[in-house]
Symmetry: none
Subunit: 421 residues, 2 copies
């Protein structure tokens, strides 16, 4: 552990519209990420409404826990915006006209050819104890306080205004005021194994981690991310320690790791395809275009993605994709025989190196005893071989589509890795 | 206004990964919306890390403010998940094996053909003071407490598991336990017009709304929902009042309204297609399968969705879709001439009544002076006519894909409505 004292922050989002679920608070998430990167520990995030008692109690509780208190919202020119008067009340000071702030608001409206109303002018009145922080992209100024043993910053709730104030003022200011610990994060991204099986596989390794390196499991649909966080003094040392731990754990779970840090599964697959200079095509029945969407959401995917067909009925599986009519009749659309033809034929149709296919019963209707909802076949065809897999998924249509996507991308990943070994 | 006492709720999200900004908390937002709909007032949302002191203090503060305390996260089978032991500690009770819960976990794994590990079995140990609430779509059970004058519910952080527990158990339970005010909501769903233009069109109507009916604008990508909320005593009266207001505003914005309440644009389109007994097919270039995915995410879409082709290169626009080579050469893939052929040919290929097509420069690369990033052509071909539209969208790839989706679905909506008039 670092000998430095941990610097703690609390984020307070203010506004009824957040509590009623009218708008989603992306600000607190963004601020968390930025503080984490500079080694400030966020200990709490609080959302309160436009209510005097609630806001004042949030101030009071925050100052007991945190060194840094960052507030967003409640700064508009209308009556329901309470942050500014309550900050003045809380720090027991009045408000006064800040000529520089008035000039900034005036310029803002002039530039846009709009009239400066009395309500707008009120935005230049600030608590006397605050430092005025110019907001270049909006009308509500930032306010910085150093009171009651904490630093406080009040920012507008409009995301791009808040982000500019954070980047230009708050983050540099915090770095200059506090001696921050050094933190190093690394994320191992896995697919095809559940959280508890993963935990079982690496139990001994996890237990032997030194106390200044923490592990967190972050599961999402069909995937688990493992985040290693190291605390210390020297970034290079931490980085080496974390990398060494990753080298140690890697052999235990190698086949499940598809990437590190921010890389998504579809990005990892794009990277593999580019490395190997191979091209891919998809025949999507039950996944209905979802996997093509995942792949094409990555910039530059046209370098390796040839295209897709979504043949939503047997007629088109036969006419467009050339799946044998007799195979469809005898075995049905959801069968190993059909999925093999789909994968092989899409590969040929799009002149691709790898042909991927999905066919299943997404639900909620369409299932029967032999092939209940959630039965899905996937396949990957490549030079000289076609690998198939049968999945038994859930009762939920959307979940089945998404899980089919993860499973098929992972099947492809396994195939291309085996092929290149 | 209802004379009933206001029922207050607090939402606590638990997990270091939230405070570090590794994952965004969409749960609290969703829960806020659902509680708002049944007339429960959310007074605070709190996010705390995987830390004993912080979690316990959040429990203690919440019970002073709220009647209902809803928690998400910190329920995994691994060591960093603290919610369950801390709830037992807070309510001064032990934990014990709940046979029903063990059976559920066992079945969950059996269905998926996976081995039940000791770690998994631990999930069936619950605080003795809780009511076990089965989680049908995951392994961490829900836990319901009635302690210290509040009701408490602990749910997993995985969104679809939380949503199912909320919908099946928590919301009905809360409605049965508390005397909630009578609230009636109706949402008008619009597409193809921005929030401020919509507000201008209905200004007079909005200003004449009675004080017990509130209007909120809920904008999302390319769409604006207008939510009317009426407060009172008698549901039938409120319902009639709101319906009357809708009848009044409707003529002003009729062509932008595609549906009401929960109906999504893709559901509305499915409804129109079923009503008219028509079938649809798609040729998606820049949207890369996204629109097919939207359409096929709706249960029963196979009744009207024939299929799609994603021809990601000119070769396949020509070979599979039959777009004239010379048209592609002379006008390029992103042109009115090409989009017309794509729409008409996909209609023929899939024997559909309506052929939809998209072609554009999603970005970030691929743009040039004449056709910058964000240039998109869309078309809808039907009997005897093809309607085209050129869009100039943004610099952001994902946004361009999504906005193309909304625009093309809306273009189709306009066409099918005109056709049937």
């Amino acid at each position: 552990m670092s000998p430095k004292r941990e610097i703690k922050a609390e984020i307070i989002a203010i506004g009824d519209e957040l509590l009623y679920g009218q708008i989603i608070d992306t600000n607190s998430h963004w601020i968390s990420q930025e503080l984490d990167l500079i080694g400030v520990r966020v200990v709490r995030r609080t959302t309160v409404g436009d209510n005097r008692t609630d806001i004042l109690s949030a101030f009071q509780q925050a100052e007991q826990r945190a060194d840094i208190i960052l507030m967003t919202g409640g700064l508009g020119p209308t009556n329901d915006d309470l942050t500014k008067p309550l900050l003045a009340e809380y720090f027991k000071c009045g408000t006064e006209l800040v000529p520089e702030a008035l000039e900034a608001v005036r310029t803002f409206f002039e530039k846009r050819g709009r009239e400066l109303t009395l309500t707008n002018q009120m935005q230049a009145y600030l608590p006397t104890k605050c430092q005025y922080v110019p907001n270049e992209v909006g009308t509500a100024p930032g306010m910085w306080f150093e009171e009651n043993g904490c630093v406080w910053m009040s920012m507008p709730g409009v995301p791009h205004e808040m982000k500019k104030l954070m980047t230009d003022f708050v983050l540099p200011k915090v770095k200059s005021l506090f001696e921050l610990p050094t933190i190093f994060h690394r994320v191992i991204r896995t697919v095809g194994i559940g959280e508890s099986w993963l935990a079982d596989l690496i139990k001994n390794w996890e237990e032997s981690l030194p106390s200044h390196i923490r592990l967190a499991y972050l599961p999402s649909l069909g995937q688990v991310r493992m985040r290693l966080t190291a605390f210390g003094d020297d970034l290079r040392t931490l980085q080496n320690e974390v990398d060494l731990q990753i080298e140690t754990v890697k052999p235990l779970i190698d086949k499940y790791i598809y990437g590190y840090d921010q890389e998504s599964l579809e990005e990892a697959i794009g990277r593999l395809l580019k490395q190997e200079n191979k091209k891919i095509a998809l025949a999507e029945s039950c996944s209905g275009g979802y996997i093509s969407h995942l792949i094409t959401s990555i910039p530059g995917s046209s370098a390796y993605f040839q295209g897709a067909v979504v043949p939503y009925h047997n007629t088109f599986k036969n006419q467009i994709l050339g799946v044998n009519e007799k195979v469809l009749e005898e075995f049905g659309a959801v069968s190993e025989q059909t999925i093999i033809e789909m994968a092989e034929n899409i590969r040929t149709l799009f002149q691709a190196d790898y042909g991927l296919a999905s066919s299943g019963i997404a639900g909620p209707g369409g299932g029967w005893a032999e092939k209940p909802v959630g039965t899905v076949w996937i396949a990957c065809a490549f030079e000289g071989r076609t690998v198939t897999k049968k999945l038994q998924l859930t009762q939920d249509r959307m979940l089945n589509i998404q899980l089919t996507g993860v499973a098929l991308l992972n099947l492809f990943r396994t195939c291309i890795l085996e092929k290149t070994e």
